[in-house]
């Protein structure tokens, strides 16, 4: 009896621990499978409906657009479905499609692209990223229902393999915009099989995911795993080194970190912020801190006194010690922000205007009529409920108190309540953040244009709007960037927002994973990834 018990115990232990030190990550390398942490469960894998980064990561492995993401430089184009392209005045773009196939064997045609553009712009689909296509002629009008005839929109299939896109104004970096999943093609017959072109609940993505990218969907279990496997029919399949990718939607940062530690992942999407200094301290080779095209800032409601006074806004900005915040609070290698647009866009050199200058801050608050903060009304600093936002808000509250002598109340709100309050303009000072959609400064500068929906500060300066508009008719690349930099300087001299820091991506990656390059947009070309 004792013997039997002993044996069964052994068997049980054996099941859990097969007496080998090989971790799942080791086994996966043998099989050529990449194990990735991927944040949370994507709400959709439909390129025209998805609005999250987590969804985007999976979609780029499955579907390829006209231009593919470049493995090392987000600002460069890489031939995707289009093997060559050309343009007239940056306005009429012609794409020549290669001989590529959908996973069901159908050829990828220019008509598929036109159908896809029509789909995302269909008013009833209600795509939240349809705006990404508004540079196309009449796209906005079609999306808003002003015109109903899609042939008036600037997308035309000249033949099976030639696509012409006409823009409403010159867009020199158009090839960068169309890397976004909102421009991706879908297989028209499959979409029609499971619903109409404009049905938001069309479930083709779960019924039959027909795609054209380097990988195809193999298994999708909500909140558990998304598995993709190599697509042998992909035009460049020879170059794809991985046999598959497993995306794990791990919400808990701690769980993800422990999974990485136990060898269950090759890549962790995030790191718990309190662990970053620990890994930095020990020079952990798995830790990566890379620039990320995003900015953390405070919006000042320019319609509310005394924030309608630029001097007050500058005083608040000058009193923020950004170095202290990134060194003592965020601790993840973030960069103190002297301006709005994050660094990394080549040729774009905006003036650094926001800085820490307590003396100037005091002078300005005195000039504004509040010497030593006397008579300054009690403003509220609003942020969404999160420990890290609270720590920054408390630090800034303290800086304003000690340097300007003003009292600010800090208040947090649940995410949706917060976003709602901010959109409605019912705040004085609110936390904000913005991540670029493509590598060009206007992805940031546009949100502060007078008519922008994201302009929470309710900032309006005709000169700023005018400069941005002008920049688009400028044909010389450097002069265009200079105009944008000039616009940014005008905006920062008005200081409707207080830039605090520029984001970095912090993650951990197994050193055996190669070809994983720093990309400020965090868009991955998985064809370049391989194991040592």
């Amino acid at each position: 009896m004792t013997n039997r018990l002993f044996c069964s115990t052994l068997i049980v232990i054996h099941c859990f621990n097969p007496f080998s030190s090989a971790t799942p990550a080791d086994d996966a390398i043998e099989e050529g499978i990449l194990l990735l942490g991927n944040g949370s469960e994507p709400h959709s894998l439909d390129p025209h409906i998805n609005s999250s980064m987590n969804g985007h990561h999976v979609i780029v492995s499955l579907i390829e657009g006209l231009i593919a993401p470049h493995p090392t430089d987000d600002s460069l184009p890489l031939p995707g479905m289009a093997y060559k392209w050309g343009h007239e005045n940056n306005t009429v773009w012609t794409f020549h499609l290669r001989d590529a196939k959908w996973t069901n064997g159908d050829p990828v045609t220019a008509h598929d692209f036109v159908y896809s553009f029509k789909r995302i712009l269909s008013p009833r689909l209600g795509s939240q990223y349809s705006e990404m296509l508004y540079s196309m002629k009449n796209a906005k009008e079609y999306n808003e229902g002003e015109i109903t005839d899609f042939s008036q929109v600037g997308a035309e299939a000249l033949d099976e393999r030639t696509l012409r896109v006409t823009l409403k104004e010159p867009v020199p970096y158009f090839y960068n915009i169309i890397k976004h999943n909102s421009w991706f093609p879908v297989h028209p017959e499959t979409v029609e099989k499971y619903g109409t072109i404009d049905d938001p609940a069309n479930n083709w993505i779960r019924e039959e995911y027909v795609s054209n990218g380097p990988f195809k969907l193999k298994n999708w279990q909500m909140n558990q795993i998304i598995e993709v496997e190599k697509n042998p029919g992909y035009w460049n399949a020879d170059q794809v080194k991985l046999n598959g990718i497993k995306f794990y939607p791990i919400v808990s940062e701690n769980t993800e970190d422990q999974m990485f530690n136990s060898g269950a992942l090759h890549y962790s999407y995030t790191i718990p912020s309190d662990m970053i200094p620990v890994y930095r301290e020990r020079n952990d080779p798995t830790l990566k801190i890379e620039p990320f095209l995003g900015v953390y800032y405070y919006s000042l409601n320019t319609k509310v006194p005394p924030l309608d006074n630029p001097k007050v806004r500058h005083a608040l900005s000058y009193a923020v010690n950004r170095n202290t915040i990134v060194r003592r609070i965020t601790k993840g290698g973030q960069l103190p922000a002297g301006n709005f647009t994050p660094p990394g866009i080549s040729g774009y050199e905006p003036e650094s205007i926001a800085s820490f200058n307590p003396k100037r801050a005091r002078e300005l608050i005195t000039e504004a009529g509040f010497p030593n903060g006397e008579g300054f009304p009690k403003l509220t600093l609003l942020f969404n409920t999160l420990e890290s936002h609270k720590a920054i808000a408390e630090a800034i509250q303290q800086m304003w108190k000690s340097i300007l002598g003003i009292d600010v109340e800090i208040r947090n709100q649940e995410w949706k309540v917060f976003v709602n309050t901010r959109h409605e303009g019912n705040f004085e000072i609110a936390r904000n953040g913005w991540i670029g959609d493509y590598m060009y400064p206007d992805t940031f500068l546009r949100i502060l244009q007078s008519d922008s929906g994201q302009n929470d500060a309710q900032y309006s300066n005709p000169e700023y709007d005018q400069l941005i508009a002008e920049s688009f008719s400028e044909t010389d690349d450097q002069r265009r960037l200079n105009l944008l930099a000039e616009a940014e300087a005008i905006m920062l001299n008005d200081m409707p927002i207080i830039p605090i820091y520029h984001y970095v991506r912090t993650y951990r990656i197994d050193p055996r994973v190669k070809g994983w390059n720093p990309t400020p947009l965090d868009v991955r070309n998985f064809t370049s990834v391989y194991f040592e």
């Binding site: 232990i13 099941c15 859990f16 621990n17 971790t23 799942p24 709400h43 959709s44 439909d46 409906i49 609005s51 008013p123 009833r124 689909l125 209600g126 795509s127 939240q128 349809s130 705006e131 999306n143 808003e144 229902g145 938001p200 609940a201 069309n202 479930n203 993505i205 779960r206 279990q221 909500m222 909140n223 558990q224 795993i225 794990y248 939607p249 791990i250 919400v251 808990s252 701690n254 769980t255 422990q258 999974m259 530690n261 136990s262 269950a264 649940e414 995410w415 949706k416 309540v417 976003v419 709602n420 309050t421 959109h423 953040g433 929906g453 994201q454």
Partner: protein, 305 residues
């Protein structure tokens, strides 16, 4: 007995109706909607989405339409997972939560009952104090502390079990223990309390007087009365366990219902909030009814009420 069940089921209808009504209006009262996003949705897009999901209809129409959808089990597409309905989510995730909950219940009973009985039988000895202090710790330690601790020890250090996931049977062990230990502590305390009360009864003295062995007195005579508090606790606890635990499911990456229960509220998904709340309410009602039936079977005094 049949009459009792029918009465209880009849009572359930107004309860569910009340829960539906309260939830429906609370969801509407919450600031922010299903389409509130950091990137502000253009007004015409918002309008289209509101129209598609029927949020533009007059309130009474929305109220009764959604009610009818829940009566007929014909659910509309979800705003947070386009293409899926509440039914898809519940059918997909409830079996997972059910399995995890039942395993956790087994863990809880297997630890809680013997410990509680032993503590009561050896009152005021080390066998009472030690496990009861531990139980107190168990109640105080939240699952989000026990969970990561267990996965650190068994996952990272010993490497016996996976940190997270829901793929093999071994993946059930850590979440079930995390969830079960918390309930085990409660059950141990309730068992001890119930047993102590019963052990002081006259009929136990009679049993001892006629020479029944101590083991038989405790297990056969006292236990039946002693576990009554546990049985009462069992109903709501079981309903809570099998409808999923947000914390444990998040820590261990378990694809259960509990995460949707919370996530639905965070993403203001009206249909999913109502479905999960009603589902949970129905579970509690059924579990409580079963408990009442069991209590009647265990306690003859209740049969005549």
């Amino acid at each position: 007995m049949l009459r009792f069940i029918l009465i209880r089921l009849g009572q359930a209808i107004p309860i569910l109706l009340a829960i539906y009504t309260i939830t429906f209006f609370m969801v509407l009262a919450a600031p922010g909607g299903p389409f509130t996003q950091e990137r502000k949705v253009a007004p015409h897009i918002l309008e289209q989405q509101m129209e598609y999901y029927g949020f533009n209809d007059p309130l009474p129409i929305q109220f009764f339409r959604t009610l009818w959808q829940h009566i007929t089990f014909e659910f509309p597409p979800l705003t947070s997972y386009p293409g899926l309905t509440s039914k898809d989510i519940i059918v997909d995730t409830f079996p997972v939560s059910l399995e995890l909950g039942l395993l956790a219940m087994i863990v809880a009973l297997a630890i809680g009952l013997p410990v509680g009985i032993l503590a009561a039988a050896k009152k005021n000895s080390i066998l009472d104090y030690a496990p009861m202090s531990l139980a107190m710790v168990g109640i105080c330690l939240p699952t989000f502390v026990i969970g990561p601790l267990l996965s650190l020890v068994f996952g990272v250090w010993l490497g016996w079990l996976n940190i997270s996931g829901w793929f093999s049977f071994a993946d059930r062990i850590l979440p079930a223990c995390t969830l079960g230990l918390f309930y085990a502590a409660y059950i141990a305390r309730l068992t001890r309390g119930g047993m102590l009360e019963t052990l002081n009864m006259d009929y136990i003295r009679s049993a001892r007087a006629k020479g029944a062995p101590e083991f038989k007195v405790v297990i056969v005579h006292a236990l039946r009365g002693g576990i009554m508090p546990v049985v009462s606790f069992f109903g709501p606890a079981l309903a809570g366990l099998i409808s999923g635990s947000f914390v444990v499911e998040t820590i261990f990456q378990v694809p259960g219902l509990g995460r949707h229960f919370i996530q639905a509220a965070l993403s203001r998904d009206h249909s999913l909030i109502l479905s999960t709340v009603l589902f949970y309410a129905a579970l509690i009602i059924v579990a409580n009814m079963i408990v009442d039936i069991v209590q009647i079977l265990l306690n003859p005094k209740l049969r005549y009420r």
